[in-house]
């Protein structure tokens, strides 16, 4: 697995979900944080794609259910 820029990923979360940087931990999970709903999820996807210049597929979007998962997914690319 390649090393990814975790700070950049965390920034994408902060900006897409409109949350505090302190809230971005591995435990941050879709559907558990009130601001991470399905609408915010699509914003987050767009944000991550722009930040890392990648194109996520539909499996990635469904799998990306936590910050920890997001790190794994981004590292694939």
């Amino acid at each position: 697995m390649t090393e990814i820029n975790t700070d950049k990923l965390a920034e994408a979360f902060v900006s897409a979900l409109a949350i505090d940087a302190a809230e971005v931990t591995d435990e941050l999970a879709y559907s558990q944080h009130p601001k991470w709903d399905s609408t915010a999820h699509m914003v987050l996807v767009a944000e991550i794609e722009a930040a890392f210049d990648i194109m996520l597929d539909t499996d990635d979007i469904i799998d990306m259910s936590s910050f920890a998962k997001a790190k794994e997914i981004v590292a694939k690319y």
């Binding site: 559907s31 699509m42 469904i62």
Partner: protein, 364 residues
């Protein structure tokens, strides 16, 4: 395949979408639907009462031997009662049906069922769209999504579908009028990619295709795909059938394969896609039965009656078997010329006045 696997969402969600034949599907759904009947009878008092009313608790209905025998709940009961099999604090999302008249259905989801629904919807649509997301033209207004007052069925549909797109362009403004400049520049930018167009049938027809026609605007898309749904009632009022709809779309937009779909908020995640031969197909997680409007007796293939939809998905509310108010004809199983396995059918409008008889009359 182990019996336990038939009740393990992590396993059955991986089944090939149109890949199990009648016998294999029967083995899976019989186990799963029986489990769901027991589960809901245990966790939803109203559902248990319904089964009791028709004399079925601890009787063969809870332990059916064929998937056609699951006792269906009339769709309208989801309007009358807050049917759910989870605790109030477990409610993750409340879905409401669209519809301008009368009460709306209320469907309660917990986090697990919401997740399973998304997974199955994605799996089904990947069969038609591939895994790569495509530039997406949404024939609706952005404002449709922004009603925070519980999600409407239309917004839920748009949102579910938007996962399959990228660089989303909304073709209509808040007054549902064509945003012609935005559409033009979107198509200019992506015309050589496989654009994904999504919208509700009547909106696509009236607000998009007819608007383009009146402006005399044509495009020349390549290998685009249009998925549309929401019913034909208003289309029939304008005497537009499936064939005319497809012809006009191709005339206006170019090379677009057009697929209707059928689905309902009461079974979100289950979607019946129309194949190249005009048939709606059951995915592996779903099965259909057609019943006589009056006697509710099961009808044969080729006969028109009320459509019952059985789904392996609903765990948070007792919606695994629903008697709809839609009329349908099942044409066959496992033998559609398109090669997909499972039952395939066509829809033929709704029951007049939606007066569906059934067990529900003993419910109150």
């Amino acid at each position: 395949m182990q019996i336990d696997d038939y009740n393990n969402a992590a396993v059955f969600s991986q089944f090939p979408v149109y890949g199990l034949n009648s016998a294999e599907k029967q083995a899976f759904l019989q186990q799963r639907l029986n489990w769901l009947t027991h589960h809901h009878a245990t966790h939803c008092p109203e559902y248990a009462r319904l089964l009791t009313c028709i004399g079925e608790v601890n009787s063969p209905m809870c332990n059916i031997e064929h998937i056609d025998q699951v006792p269906p709940v009339a769709a309208r009961l989801f309007k009358d009662y807050g049917l759910k099999s989870i605790k109030d604090e477990e409610v993750f999302r409340l879905m409401r049906s669209s519809g301008t008249s009368g009460r709306q259905s209320q469907i309660y989801l917990d986090a697990d069922s919401a997740k399973l629904q998304s997974q199955i919807l994605v799996k089904t649509l990947q069969h038609w769209l591939g895994k790569q997301r495509r530039p997406m033209l949404i024939i609706d207004a952005k404002e449709t999504m922004q009603n925070k007052n519980g999600m409407s069925a239309r917004a839920a549909g748009l949102q579910g579908m938007s996962f399959f797109g990228r660089n989303h362009c909304y073709a209509l403004d808040e007054n549902m009028q064509l945003r012609i400049d935005e559409v033009k520049s979107f198509i200019e930018q992506y015309h050589n990619q496989q654009i994904f167009i999504f919208g509700f049938t009547f909106i696509v027809w009236q607000q998009f295709i007819q608007a383009l026609q009146s402006l005399g605007l044509k495009f020349n898309l390549q290998q685009a795909i249009l998925i549309h749904g929401g019913g034909w009632k208003k289309m029939q009022q304008q005497a537009v059938d499936d064939k005319t709809f497809k012809q006009q779309i191709n005339a206006q937009l170019g090379d677009v394969s057009v697929h209707d779909y059928y689905g309902m908020v009461e079974q979100t995640g289950t979607i019946y896609m129309q194949c190249e031969h005009g048939h709606l197909h059951c995915p592996v997680w779903s099965d259909v039965v057609v019943r006589d409007i009056n006697s509710l007796a099961q009808l044969k293939n080729g006969q028109q009656g009320l459509l019952q939809v059985n789904s392996a998905l609903p765990t948070s509310y007792p919606g695994h078997s629903i008697l709809t108010e839609d009329l349908a004809v099942i044409h066959g199983e496992d033998d559609c010329p398109c090669g997909r396995l499972g039952k395939y059918f066509t829809l033929h409008g709704r029951v007049p006045n939606s007066q569906v008889r059934g067990c529900s009359d003993t419910f109150s």
